[in-house]
Symmetry: C2
Subunit: 233 residues, 2 copies
């Protein structure tokens, strides 16, 4: 076939994409060389080159100097979520943030928490319940326990103005975090604090933080019904 | 103070950790030099050095040749979740995996999906509903739509033996993914398929995949009540 100067690099991109979509070239397949493609498509090699370059920039092809050009395999399916302090998350939405302390009590570690964190029954914790509002709408209900053996200075803090998350981040180093995401069915308390009703489903983040071997804090964060945590990769 | 050879590096580690915990040295604080610490703790400099080295290896201190040693600030709060194919997730739990196709239909793109993916009203999609079981217990209900303009070969596939996720991963390249995590309240359909009852809360993953500008697929994955997605950082 002769060289047709009316064939644009966009035409070549479209034809390559079509061949990928109809599985002529499945993921991982090696493409013919540029000379061969130019011949097949009846265009200049430079036109093929530009099309290939753009498809590589768009993440569809993978070009290696010696190995040639392949259809890219699926990217590693690893999602990254940044875990912001809730105030920053709310402010990033353009909303005004308000914090409120619901309750604060020093108590013996409840058995379920002692089991979960590996604490002794005699260890004491500071138990806080807090609300975070976005433009005065309930955004997050925070249930938090701080291990007073690891963070004794928390006992002196009233947490009326600043939430425990912001305070802990600035005061206490940590080395390990365990994060869980789940869904939690509402109850009377969540309906009261987060609005909505008792059968709402709440996206829930649980976070345990350690300093070396010592548990620092356990937090259970319930988001308002309809909350979505989104990421693009 | 004189040098006490009975002071072990473990003692020094414990004292440094205590000083970090009681906020003598808050996150980011610069520690005194090793000579000064050896003097303060009444031990050999080598003992201090070993304690510091281990605390740095444990991620509690940060040592820089010229700048000295600091208490490490909180690590970047970025969580990574790997997004496995559901079969791999179930098999990693040591459970046996079973796939079942509930329904399969070629249809005009529903308006909500056309809006979400930027498709035209005339575009056709393949709509699949599938179940994934772990040891014969319901694990995940998958609602999936495949854009037939991007993936025409899906029309020929019956999906009775292999789920669309596994098939798509091996057949169709993709360049971008948008992932959302949320909680979804059960309904009659989820109660039928996932067991439990209509007011259960289901952890939900939504995934949109593109090949360049073209939407490939939208999937809505509802997990059994009580499912947790956990990661450690």
């Amino acid at each position: 076939m002769g060289e047709d100067t009316r064939v644009s690099y966009q035409d070549i991109k479209a034809r390559v994409l079509a061949a990928i979509r109809d599985n002529t070239w499945p993921p991982g397949a090696m493409l013919p060389g540029e000379v061969a493609l130019a011949q097949e498509y009846g265009c200049a090699r430079a036109t093929v080159n530009r099309a290939m370059r753009e498809l590589a920039e768009e993440g569809i092809l993978e070009r290696k100097r010696k190995a040639g050009t392949r259809v890219k395999l699926a990217p590693a399916r690893q999602a990254r979520f940044s875990i912001p302090v809730v105030r920053e998350e709310i402010e990033a939405l353009g909303a005004s943030y308000r914090y409120a302390l619901v309750s604060r009590s020093e108590e013996a570690t409840p058995k379920w928490l002692a089991a979960q964190l590996g604490l002794g029954a005699g260890d004491r914790v500071l138990h806080l319940v807090c609300m975070h509002y976005a433009d005065e709408r309930p955004f997050q209900l925070e249930q938090r326990w701080i291990n007073l053996a690891t963070v004794p200075q928390a006992a002196k803090k009233d947490f009326s103005q600043t939430g425990p998350n912001e305070w802990l981040v600035s005061e206490v180093p940590f080395t390990d975090i365990r994060l869980s995401f789940s869904a939690c069915r509402g109850n009377r308390e969540t309906a009261e604090f987060l609005g909505g009703n008792e059968t709402d489903a709440h996206f829930t983040v649980e976070r345990v933080t350690w300093l070396g071997e010592r548990p620092v804090t356990y937090a259970r964060l319930l988001f308002h019904a309809g909350y979505r945590m989104t990421t693009t990769l």
